[in-house]
Amino acid sequence: MLEAILVLTILSVIFGLLLGFAAVRFKVEGDPVVDQIDAILPQTQCGQCTYAGCRPYAEAIAKGEADINQCPPGGNTVIVALADLLGVDAKPLNEEHGEAKQEKTVVIIDEQVCIGCTLCIQACPVDAILGAAKQMHTVIKQECTGCNLCIPPCPVDCIHITPVETGLKEWKWPLPEPAEEEEQS
């Protein structure tokens, strides 16, 4: 009896130390799940999810505070990927946050109208607008994520949404029409 208690006590002390050591030695900084979620999100930084950017939204999802269907730019693809990652059921996009985009867009500044107020520069989350006070502004098309955050602050409404041009390189083969019987079912 006494031996058994002794042995178990010693064992528990050993394992306790081992666990304690491992906890210190292999400590993971930050939350790896947040990184994984953040990698799936489209990084438009548009804030339509009601969070201040993609990373805060990823943190909220990881904490369980936000649902996975609040990202309109990501649409269904992101929802499915998040559901896969987190082991939950995919659900349709929450329309409260906006409609899924049918095509990719960027903004352009009508340079004739721009007064050089720099408000849009301050609004752009990815520094994709170039310009200075009282100088004409312009959008760096390659860097624009299409979040449209620059549009509301513009006092002269000179920022317009345009679809991203599809060149030969970006062109995609369409999905063929499904077989007849499957279509009926």
């Binding site: 989350p125 060149g167 030969l168 999905l175 499904p178 077989a179």
Partner: protein
């Protein structure tokens, strides 16, 4: 030489050739059309950058668009004339989207550029020098893919080339331009092969030709010198689609397989098309850049199907007219063969470097009315696949848009030969599903790169803002400190007396303002008297009135 033991590849199809249709007679040289439309992208890789502007006169062989990236090819003027526009034009591409083209109004003089460098003694040149010549001549793979040829002649560090293969298989039905090229320009092909061999320092050279082209095989064998026979072997390979596929031809000729995600060079083999070899000979020995090629115009909707030697930029319609196209009977125009060709919607689309064939079909030839039926899992496609893939699984996952799974089943090893779709009893357009999956995966890759960059930029912006905030705070704090310091130097007493002094000064000033009468300096005596009287009156009133 017939003792060579050949290998064979999995699957494939026996197709009826229809090659004799366009092999009647000589190759005719197409006249110079009034206008040439030259796309800046005729190859795999980055588009070339135009170096001419509208109104410029160009001579034959002049560089009109230069390459800006490693994987690219320059473009030259096919004849002399004036650049009349640089604009969007229909180009041969499955999307049907237009692309930038340089339009040349030809002058019919066909005037060559004067100083053309010719190198008949190519053995004396450094391989690097040869590659440069080939690169600057704008030579790309003429078999159909259009990959810049100089890159495929660059074995890379530590890689030895054992076998250099020339691909003269031309396995797709209807096409005969390579067959005629081999018959008519056999010596040029061998010269080009020798140049390429020197560029990659290859040991042995093989020319693989399907055995349905005996004249071509004979022509090439006849043009070999005794010395060349030691290291060049012209091999007749069994006619079977798709022997002309690079991996398939290598398997047949050397019995070696290229591992997935590897290139032929990884097993010491380099493979080029026979047309590319002839172009290399033209470029190095004669100083002629790649400006024209043999094009087969064939099919059921032309009265005189034959091969033409056409300048790049020639509108397809111009060639069709020469072959007497049956107007009204042309149901469909394909660029390439019936298995892998792409549909051309605009007959003004120009001939480009990769245009080997124009296949015309009458409406009744088109088997498009087959409505796809569900997959019955018969496995015919897997038996036919020359890449030994599982087409029905690929189809399944492509349709479900599960692109991870599609890649697990090696969709990128698919050569899009179309064998699976050809044998499918349910007429499922299988290849289109794989193409869909491939382009979709590339798109996702691009999106991923873009979102990574956006994340980086966003994080940097946040970092910058945070830094600015801290800097501002720091500055404010310092200013406050400085102020405190300046005040802190004086003792309290001094401060108090300073305040008192200031207060006293203010008081004095106020007093002065209150009592001093203004505008009284230059008064006449009468006025002064009046003022004094008024003052006295006021004095008296003030005294009388007890309330003040």
């Amino acid at each position: 030489m017939s003792a060579r033991k050949l290998g064979h590849f999995h699957g494939g199809l026996k197709l009826s050739g229809h090659k004799q249709v366009s092999m009647t007679g000589e190759v005719t040289t197409s006249p110079i059309p009034p206008q040439l439309i030259i796309p800046i992208q005729q190859h795999i890789g980055a588009p070339a950058e135009p170096v001419v502007s509208v109104g410029d006169r160009v001579k034959k062989g002049q560089l009109i668009a230069k390459m800006e990236a490693t994987v690219s090819a320059p473009v030259h003027a096919p004849t002399s004339g004036t650049v009349s526009a640089i604009e969007e034009w229909a180009v041969p591409h499955p999307s049907g989207l237009p692309n930038t083209c340089i339009v040349i109004d030809t002058d019919g003089q066909d005037e060559w550029l004067e100083d053309r460098a010719t190198h008949s003694q190519f053995h004396l040149l450094d391989p690097e020098e040869l590659r440069k010549l080939i690169r600057n001549a704008g030579i790309v793979g003429l078999g159909g893919a259009g990959f810049p040829a100089y890159l495929k002649l660059q074995p890379g560090q530590g890689k030895l080339v054992d076998t250099l293969i020339l691909n003269g298989a031309e396995c797709e039905p209807w096409i005969s331009c390579d067959a005629l090229l081999m018959q008519q320009r056999a010596r040029d092909i061998i010269d080009g092969l020798n140049i390429m061999r020197h560029a990659v320092q290859a040991n042995e050279c093989l020319i693989g030709i399907e055995d349905n082209k005996p004249e071509a095989i004979q022509a090439l064998r006849n043009s070999l010198t005794d010395d060349e026979k030691r290291y060049i072997d012209v091999v007749a390979v069994p006619t079977r689609y798709p022997t002309g596929g690079e991996k398939q031809l290598i398997k047949v000729l050397t019995d070696m397989e290229i591992p997935s995600h590897k290139l032929p060079i990884d097993i010491g083999v380099i493979c080029h098309n026979v047309g590319t070899a002839a172009a290399v000979a033209d470029a190095v020995i004669r100083g002629i850049p790649l400006i024209s090629r043999y094009v087969t115009v064939t099919g059921t909707a032309v009265a005189k199907p034959h091969n033409l030697h056409a300048l790049f930029g020639t509108p397809m319609n111009f060639l069709l007219q020469q072959c007497e196209v049956h107007e009204g009977k042309l149901g469909r125009l394909l660029m390439g063969g019936p298995m892998m060709g792409i549909e051309i919607h605009d007959r003004q689309t120009p001939i480009i470097k990769t245009t080997n064939c124009l296949l015309t079909l009458q409406p009744q030839d088109i088997a498009d009315d087959h409505i796809p039926l569900p997959c019955i899992r018969c496995g015919e496609c897997a038996r036919a696949c020359p890449a030994q893939l599982l087409p029905q699984q690929l189809y399944w996952w492509s349709k479900a848009e599960d692109f991870d799974k599609v890649q697990d089943y090696n969709v990128f090893d698919c050569i899009e030969c179309g064998c699976c779709a050809y044998v499918c009893p349910s007429h499922i357009p299988l290849v289109q599903y794989y193409r869909f999956a491939k382009t979709e995966i590339w798109q996702q890759e691009r999106d991923k790169q873009k979102s990574d960059r956006a994340r980086q930029r966003h994080e940097f912006r946040q970092f910058r803002m945070e830094q600015k905030k801290q800097e501002d705070e720091e500055r404010r704090r310092k200013k406050k400190e400085l102020l405190k310091k300046a005040q802190g130097d004086k003792p309290d007493e001094a401060k108090k007396s300073a305040i008192e002094e200031a207060m006293a000064r203010v008081q004095a000033k106020k007093q002065q303002q209150h009592t001093a009468t203004k505008n009284v300096d230059d008064l006449t005596d009468a006025q002064r008297k009046q003022v004094e009287e008024a003052d006295a009156r006021r004095e008296r009133l003030n005294k009388d009135d007890p309330t003040t």
